[in-house]
Amino acid sequence: MADLRITGLGKSFREYPRPSFRLLEWLGLGVWHTEKWILREVDFTIASGESVGIIGRNGAGKSTLLKIITGVMAPSCGSVHLGGRISALLELGMGFHPEFTGRQNVFMQAYLQGLSHAQVNDRIDEIAAFAELGDYFDKPARIYSSGMQVRLAFSVATAIRPDILIVDEALAVGDAYFQYKCYDRIRQYRQAGTTLLFVSHDPGAVKSLCDRAILIEKGGVLKDGSPADVLDFYNALIVPEAAQAAHDELRVDAGQGVRSGTGRMRVRQVCWRVHDEITTVLSAGAPAALDVLIEAAIPMQDYTVGILIKDRLGNDVFGTNTHHLASAVTPLEAGKTYLARFSFPVLNLGPSYYSLTVALHASSNHLAGNYDWWERAVTFQVVPAAGCHTIGVCHMPVDFELEAAPQ
């Protein structure tokens, strides 16, 4: 049984050089518009109960695709076949009226989704409990934080298990606790047979929630397969872009002085490598290597290469240097480039975003002589290991056993 079937789907927008040209065309005086294709030849079938992650760059056509699937937008060609009731959480702000309470807004939103009064009334307590708004539920929505709005919106959209659930990045606004709660409910619905379509920029969430991923690029399906394969492909796709961004950032950093040092030695490039591929997405608990390309302006005998990993808030998470590692460094010739590699047999970082700072300085610490200090040389993401969901910045292998305690 196919739950969602998309055949030959295409979407184009008409663009007119000026509004008056549209009038000419309406009056039958020639064709003036140019077609701008957002989606072309999209074909895929999603079976009942499957959960599929839609990934792709900004502007690749993901949102347009979802809007067509939910029926908010009409396709220019092709067709969408839906095998059941659909519920969609499209964007932030489901259109809550600021002057009315959460409760009143829930009723209106539920009616708008086609639910009957009895259906909402039976579940209103459940909806309130899931959103965890407390007293705020009966206060006007204008005093809600954006997180609270998303909580309520998700709670309404999923009050009744839909046959097809579409979630479009909206969850990213909620805090970690609520995200986990939402993922939990999504998992429950999946087990009960709901088909899930999940759009996210978070490879971690796609890996842990979906059993298939579809990569949309330039309005078409570029790759369709297991989340791991598709995400690897996606990462490879965005590497040139990421490198360009890093390059741009470097120039900005240089201007802002976040990079400092005497310049006797310089870091040319920093990157993570997994299986010899450059990447910015690492897996918790998997091996990874950090490559630092360095060069010296004059021959150097005594120097230290240091790295420091910081979390999103700028807290130090892990740092070390060749001095503390008691690794002997080879003397450098002037003008040549050397590769310094820090290999992590197991990367024990928890799933989150991090930045990496690299430093080249004289032996003991950077106060003795700072050659090159580069804040946020690379930013990277750590995604959860397959089948293992943890929170926090560290990844600790852990075993669990349960037995009767001796009396």
Partner: protein, 267 residues
């Protein structure tokens, strides 16, 4: 015909949303105000008061052939209140898609719900002011009697005309925003080209054939006949409204079917 029945069924399914939207609109108008719902009644009350005081007492205006002191204010209100509903409904429907863009872009629901909400919201506004007007008629002893019920088919015809016209303009307004501005301007002229504050009978003879082409002329004249003269309206003259109303209904349905996909792209 089956698709029409389906539309009705869908509207019925969304009745809670329709009712909720109408109630919400009124409640949001007097939220956080001290007098609350009283404001809804004060506006029409003030208007009736002004026309009575200024025209009947200060300016001593009289309708030809009527001697009562309040006859002019009754004459004005009988035409002005339905006109206000007409103008509000057309204006609201002109903004139907643009004003509800955020709702339309995020939710998939039968779009027919929106004109129904506009009809009901503006209808409630009209009913409130009309209720006050009826109270005034009773108190001043000018109540025309059960013949008053004849205004119901007149109002129904007017609502169909206004909804269809507004809906058509609403579709065009999505693509040419000039329409919204133009409607405001045209209505100013239309008001004075319709015998609301003056009597059709008092016009020079050469002008009346032109004014009779205005669909609102027979409607307003009919309200005047029922309320001021307590006489049945000239039903035959209403073809100038009925035919355009049916034509616009067909036209707006056709235009919407053709343009609905592009409307969603443009808003």
């Amino acid at each position: 015909m089956t698709s029409f029945m389906q539309e009705i069924k869908q509207l019925w399914h969304y009745r809670r949303f329709i009712a909720g939207s109408v109630v919400r609109e009124f409640r949001s108008r007097f939220k956080r105000s001290l007098l609350g719902a009283l404001w809804l009644l004060l506006a029409p009350f003030a208007m009736i008061l002004i026309y009575t005081l200024i025209f009947s007492h200060v300016m001593q205006a009289r309708v030809p052939g009527a001697s009562q002191p309040y006859s002019y204010s009754i004459f004005i209100c009988a035409g002005l209140l339905p006109w206000q509903w007409f103008s509000e409904l057309v204006t609201r429907n002109t903004g139907l898609f643009l004003d509800n863009a955020s709702l339309i872009k995020k939710n998939n629901f039968p779009r027919m719900v929106l004109p129904v909400i506009n009809f009901l919201s503006s209808g409630v506004n009209f009913a409130l002011s009309w209720g006050i007007f009826c109270g005034f008629l009773l108190l001043s002893g000018a109540w025309p009697g059960w013949i008053m019920l004849l205004i119901l088919p007149l109002l129904a015809l007017q609502a169909i005309f206004a909804s269809a016209l507004g809906f058509f303009l609403g579709v065009v307004n999505v693509f040419f925003r000039d329409v919204g501005n133009a409607v405001a301007l045209v209505f100013q002229f239309w008001f004075w080209l319709t015998p609301i504050v003056y009597s059709f009978k008092s016009l020079p003879a050469w002008l009346s054939p032109y004014l009779q082409m205005n669909p609102m002329t027979p409607l307003i004249t009919a309200y005047h006949a029922v309320i001021v003269d307590a006489a049945p309206p000239d039903w035959a003259s209403l073809d100038v409204v009925a035919l355009p109303a049916l034509g616009l209904l067909a036209l707006s349905t056709w235009v919407y079917r053709k343009a609905s996909a592009q409307i969603m792209d443009e808003i």
